[in-house]
Amino acid sequence: MLANIGFGVLVVSFITSLYGIIASIIGVRKNSLAWVESARKAMQITFPLITIVALAIILLLVTGQYQVQYVYNVTSSTMPLYLKITALWGGQSGSLVFWAWLMSAFTTAVTLRKWERDREFLPWVILVGLVTLTFFLSLILFFENPFVRFWVTAAGNQVISMFPPAGAAPLIPADGRGLNPLLRHPGMIIHPPMLYLGFVSFVIPYAFAVAALVTGRTDDRWIRITRRWTLVAWLFLSLGLVLGSRWAYDVLGWGGYWAWDPVENAAFMPWLTGTAFLHSVMIQEKRGLFKRWNMILIILTYALVIFGTFLTRSGVLSSVHSFAQSAIGPMFFGFIALSMIFSVWLLIWRWQILHAEGNMHSLLSREALFLLNNLLFMGILVVVFWGTVFPLISELFTGQKVTVGPAFYERSTGPLFAALLLLMGIAPLSAWGHSTVKTLGKALWKPALAALAVVIAAFAGGIRNGWALFGFLLVSLVIFITLFEYFRGVTARRRRTGEGWLAALFNLMARNRRRYGGYIIHLGVVLMALGIIGIEMFQTETQGTIPPGGSLRLGRYEVTFTRLDIFDANDGRNVARATVLVSKDGRMVGELHPRRDLYFDSMQPMTIPGVRSTIEDDLYVLLVDWQPISSTGVTFKVFHNPLINWLWIGGFVFILGMLVAAWPDKDPQPVPVAVRRGQAIPSRSSGD
């Protein structure tokens, strides 16, 4: 019953969005406001409709209606309620519904804004949003229907279909197969929605870009409207990536946080272009330059979002993260091909009117450094893209699979990341228009000296790894420059207004949130870089089999095995849980419990590390193997991950900075020529 309702509403929402597409096309052709309004209504109706669809699936999941195939595949009776709800995005068809739901929420939110000044954009934005939405709805409807059920025909055959064949009775399995155990982790519950949110919200700037291209209104209006959307998209995507890394570190049990797996890369690539876009739009706002480049970047980002989703879901590339093979590949491929060809054609058609309105004057101006930053991001993108698709190409031409592992990515992107870090330090010191070596040098020498002092201290402290020292130099340089910038701003303000330190800091940030939020983001990035340098260059590990009472040494740590308990947990898994004592420099510092979970329903083992986290390092202990009968002992693998926690701390700072930069203003859409802060200036000065 519920399944039928859900399916019915799904069909209705598909038809509604189809109608919206037609209405917006008619609206444009006839130049009719009524038709466009109708399309807008259709867009807005899809949101409640898809909400009902999603709620129907959640109800089916929660009530354990195992005759529905999707429910059978992703839940089982032993799963707790919150996992049953979040199983909505635990499988292919459910997560497509979730995708579509977020998509309709975002596009609907966009159509709710005031459009007086941007009337001509409206039908095109609706069109792009609805075409993307319709595409996803059609995937759900025709290939991945979440409401198909099991039936038994009169002849006794088992059938999977939406509606019962004549004379068939429902087949109700006693229990479901349960969610993939890898996904039963808090990080995994929030990680996919964050990624989807990031993906989906990048559709909005793209829709505006298309609207700007089609209507020929290629000033920076579209960029100003979508600035906050871009930031929000970027916030969620970044959050998704950080949470994903944390999940990998906690659950996958290989002592690392990022594996350069195809699916990770699929989410990382739009992030790269999105980050480049975020920086280069500022040049267009400030200087009227790089209009074409911004178009290319946003088109690329949209293409990579769709392409990334395609990679994850079509089974073209194999990965730990991918969904089971499915039939949606060809249709997805068609959509990618069409949207890419259309975007490129549109861009070429409008190439001429996208000319720059200004000029660049100096190689050291901020716009020039931003361009360099874009170049580096594109360099990293090329490496990641090529590494991701190369196995496919190799298999196609030679019939032999190859692996492109982390070593390739690390070696080729390492220098590029280092250059980016350096640029991140210098760029905020340079000025729009032009800077000279002298002005830059003047601003740079104090922080540079301080950074050098840090490196000398590190060297004196016994660090001899040249690359690590270089990394520390860059990291501390950026930190000092950023702090110095804050210091300069605060002292200037204090001098002028006579405020206290905190008030001055607060007001400084409030007055120019985009700029100072950006600095916090930079600070977060360098802290993350610190963590990455720590784990990449100083990670040590050892493995050994030890009897009870025996111990393993790693650096200053000693791990002593005391006991191993093997028992069945009541949520359908067998647990082998070891207890080890950890001592550092001969002093007892704690007890860890690395364990191995074996879920009965999928027979998939999971290795959960025991981790002792401090600000300076992690001791990460894995239970590798054990001999159940003999007493030869238990095999442990121990990682020492220095500085790793700065990766997560940096992540927090990063998100904080983004919230500062992206938090809505009290007046997000100022009237055309607002008089703000007592001065007659264009509304564009609301940010930096």
Partner: protein, 188 residues
């Protein structure tokens, strides 16, 4: 002065893209799409479909004998992929051997065991344990499994007397009858 600058900029920037750039952009785009499309088709069906001719391949057994499918033309070939670390493979091992014993006297049915991603000592122990007598050998460089595009073990592919793929089984056989049910229709 601002005016002047804009004019300057327009002079340098207000040009259409050269033809060759447009051509190149579309060529790269289409080329990329074709690659992905081909890759997709490959994952969707694999290189060998039922009814299609199976390319010849060579299997060097653990005993050092070399079997080439070209020399088996006119015979039905049962290609079974297995591995010593694979539990379901143990389920069907006895059945496969029994079926092999049944067909052996006829001489027109060949069994080939292809050992997928395995280590030699364990593989030999597996053969010993289940008393397999038909030719078994490692899948060197995983060539054979990549040719069939197997998704896991066990999988069994049966090639008919004309050298075409006639039957695919993913997962273990449950009984000798099931194996015979697949092979018998291919025999005269």
């Amino acid at each position: 002065m601002v005016e002047e600058r804009i004019n300057n900029a327009e002079k340098t920037n207000r040009q259409t893209l050269p033809r060759w750039v447009v051509g190149l952009v579309f060529a790269v785009l289409i080329g990329f799409l074709v690659l992905i499309g081909l890759g997709l088709r490959r994952t969707q069906e694999g290189p060998i479909v039922i009814g299609q001719k199976v390319p010849y391949f060579e299997l060097k057994t653990f005993d050092g004998e070399v079997y080439h499918t070209q020399q088996m033309q006119g015979k039905v070939i049962v290609v079974n992929f297995w591995a010593s670390w694979c539990k379901p493979c143990e389920q069907e091992a006895f059945e496969l051997e029994e079926a092999w014993q049944f067909y052996k006297p006829r001489g027109d049915v060949v069994f080939l065991g292809v050992d997928y991603v395995d280590t030699e000592p364990e593989a030999k122990a597996f053969i010993q344990q289940f008393g397999l007598t038909y030719p078994n050998g490692p899948d060197l460089r995983t060539r054979i499994s990549q040719m069939f595009r197997i998704q896991g073990v066990p999988e069994t592919y049966i090639i008919d007397r004309e050298g075409r793929l006639a039957f695919v089984k993913k997962g273990p056989f449950l009984s000798v009858t099931e194996i015979r049910g697949a092979v018998d229709p291919l025999l005269p």
